[in-house]
């Protein structure tokens, strides 16, 4: 019977299954960070348990570390305590830690692929919902809570029911100037913030095939914003070439059989998905969110929607609340909305190609005098590569701040936050109330749109600049 990629990965990782019970599946790669792991290690200590496979477990610090001078002590003593706890836990349990001063440090979902840890066919977990990012390699990767982190540390397994499968088919080709971020925002606007609940989404179609690995990571990263358990894209030559630059296949086995295994992962012809959604790629445009969840977005050419036109009372109330929080009036063209801050970073859009796109736009221009803009590379290695290409200089000359890597203002657990009322064009993944700082107003956009907004001081249709 033809199988989906999800079927194949699930079956390969099945340790035990029993009627009326969830499956026990094996986890190939477990990534840890400082915020969701301390209680899990504490649980191990109390129960006198060990980490079963320290060799499959890797940790880094990203969520609450400062992005300013790292040679200085961290002021926030709670953040300091969490980082110290991770250091002790990694040492005591024999887990590799990419610490603040390591050349490999970075946002956990940026360094996994970068270091070649993320590979096709794997099961990957992390105590972070954006673990879906790694699905770009044809892996089954999903976020878990701290109790499950403890479960995986102790057993290298998880008990869970197999999620349902959903295929999102992008039909046709993208128009020029439409980025991966615009595609995923467009998908979420169509299927809704809970449209993928209970499902693993596999993205297919030409437009997806034409994306680079970094663009595919942006797509899979935001699968969770559609409520999906995970997102995945089947491996192809693009995937293999990316990996060959990062790993020695001979270190893990026979190169030709490894590649054969990867290439056998794509869903079989005729495989059945629980749901199939087709989206016309040509209909997608650069997007900006106007509300307080990632579903609330519009194409850059449109105006703020009117709650009176909502389908239900619930939807109307939610829109009104969002517009009130965002301080926006229905009918205002989004391009007339001015901004105070720009954040280019996060596990969604902080990789080298994201910074290159933004740098091309700001090169030789100046950040608007009313805007404060910053670039936070996704990893220490991305930062180094960008500096070798002179991107830091382009950003600094234009008036951007150029920071050390970390999650930074995506969730504002470190000092990088918005002040109440500030409006930010952000390349991150969530525009929830207060996400970037209490009272802060977040508009999710692509790196190109964020760069354009930094220069113009308001949202712009970046396609007009590229012509």
């Amino acid at each position: 019977m033809p199988r989906t990629m999800l079927d194949k990965i699930w079956e390969k990782h099945l340790v035990h299954s029993q009627d009326q019970q969830p499956d026990l599946i094996y986890i190939d790669l477990h990534l840890l960070h400082e915020v969701t792991s301390p209680q899990a290690f504490e649980g191990l200590r109390i129960a006198k348990r060990q980490v079963r496979r320290p060799d499959l477990t890797f940790a880094t610090v990203d969520h609450n570390i400062p992005t300013t001078d790292r040679s200085l002590p961290i002021h926030d003593h709670l953040a300091r305590t969490q980082i110290k706890a991770l250091r002790e836990n990694a040492k005591d349990f024999g887990v590799t830690l990419y610490d603040v001063d390591s050349a490999e440090q970075g946002i956990v979902h940026v360094i996994g692929p970068e270091l070649g840890l993320t590979q096709p066919g794997m099961t990957i977990v992390c105590g972070d919902s954006h673990t879906s990012t790694h699905g770009a390699f044809g892996a089954l990767a999903f976020g878990i809570g701290t109790s499950q982190v403890e479960h995986v540390l102790a057993t290298q397994c998880l008990t869970m029911d197999k999620p349902k499968s959903m295929q999102i088919k992008l039909i046709g080709n993208l128009r020029s100037g439409v980025s991966a971020k615009d595609v995923i925002l467009g998908i979420i606007a169509r299927i809704g913030i809970d449209g993928g609940s209970g499902h693993v989404i596999e993205y297919t179609g030409n437009a997806i095939r034409n994306f680079s690995m970094e663009e595919r990571m942006t797509i899979c990263n935001m699968s969770i914003e559609a409520g999906a358990r995970a997102g995945m894209i089947s491996p192809d030559d693009t995937t293999v070439n990316y990996l060959l630059e990062r790993i020695e296949l001979t270190d893990i086995g026979d190169p030709s059989s490894i590649i054969d295994n990867w290439m056998n992962l794509p869903s079989d012809e005729g495989a059945t998905f629980d749901r199939v959604i087709e989206i016309d790629a040509n209909s997608l445009e650069p997007c900006v969110t106007w509300g307080t969840n990632p579903e609330m977005s519009i194409p850059i050419t449109e105006s703020i929607p009117d709650p009176q036109e909502a389908d239900s009372t619930e939807a109307r109330d939610a829109m009104q609340r969002a517009l009130h929080y965002m301080d926006l009036e229905p009918g205002t063209p989004i391009q007339r909305v001015s901004i105070d801050r720009v954040f280019i970073g996060s596990c969604t859009n902080s990789r080298l190609s994201d910074l290159q796109v933004a740098a091309t736009i700001v090169d030789g221009k100046q950040v608007n005098k009313d805007v404060k803009a910053m670039v936070v590379p996704g990893s220490t290695s991305v930062k180094k590569e960008a500096e070798e290409l002179g991107l830091d200089k382009i950003f600094l000359d234009a008036g951007f701040e150029w920071r050390e890597s970390g999650c930074s203002m995506c969730l504002g657990m470190n000092p990088d936050i918005l002040s109440p009322g500030e409006r930010c064009a952000s390349t991150s993944n969530r525009n929830f109330e207060g996400r970037q700082g209490r009272g802060g107003r977040t508009h999710l956009v692509s790196p190109a749109t964020a760069a354009g907004a930094a220069i113009a001081g308001h949202f712009v249709d970046i396609r007009e600049w590229l012509d």
């Binding site: 026990l24 969730l411 109440p420 109330e433």
Partner: protein, 195 residues
């Protein structure tokens, strides 16, 4: 984990949809290294006005909901981040049950791990509870064994929970111990894939 069999309590209506975990517990409170002490930070921003003073209109601040232990909210409750601090905060505050027409996947599984019961009722039943609790004192009994919610006036709604989840909630099972009891299977799997 605290076992859950049956719970009777007052309903607190939170009439909002897509309540995300950033609202349930904002990020500045995720820096602790303990599992407890999050209750006072539950819905921190929604409990306060812009100037920081308590917002008397928010459900948790209203006098008559002070004893509430069953939260009812609109669809897709718990969307967003995987932070288990969300169920920790709800439980630490005093909630034992959350009722909604749907829950986000990770939030739901985090609840199960902690003995907080997320119950999916029909949209009609959820709206009924939201409306009723807003108007008058509304108490219900949530019976996990019988898998239903009832009030004193003959209203009854059945709900479904995965049988294995139900079993471990009823017994308050340590799920790690259960997996460790399958050690032989894990070992065989590891040997088989290395071969």
């Amino acid at each position: 984990m605290k076992p859950f069999t049956s719970h009777t309590g007052q309903v607190v209506p939170l009439n909002r949809t897509d309540v995300d975990t950033d609202q349930i517990i904002p990020k500045q409170f995720l820096k602790r290294i303990e599992r407890t002490g999050y209750g006072e930070f539950l819905f921190y921003d929604w409990r306060r006005k812009t100037d920081g003073s308590p917002d008397p209109t928010f459900c948790l601040n209203r006098e008559r909901f002070q004893e509430g232990s069953i939260l009812v909210a609109g669809k897709n409750f718990g969307c967003g981040s995987s932070r288990e601090h969300a169920p920790w905060a709800l439980m630490d505050y005093g909630f034992r049950v959350v009722i909604s027409s749907s829950f986000a996947d990770i939030f739901k599984s985090n609840c199960y791990e902690n003995g907080l019961l997320p119950i999916e009722l029909s949209e009609k039943a959820t709206v009924r509870l939201l409306t009723l609790a807003e108007k008058e004192d509304c108490s219900v009994t949530v019976d996990l064994l019988a898998q239903h919610v009832i009030d004193g006036q003959g209203w009854k709604e059945e709900f479904w929970v995965d049988p294995s989840v139900r079993d471990s909630l009823l017994k308050g099972l340590d799920r790690i111990s259960h997996t460790l009891s399958l050690e032989e299977h894990i070992k065989n799997y590891e040997t088989g894939r290395d071969a």
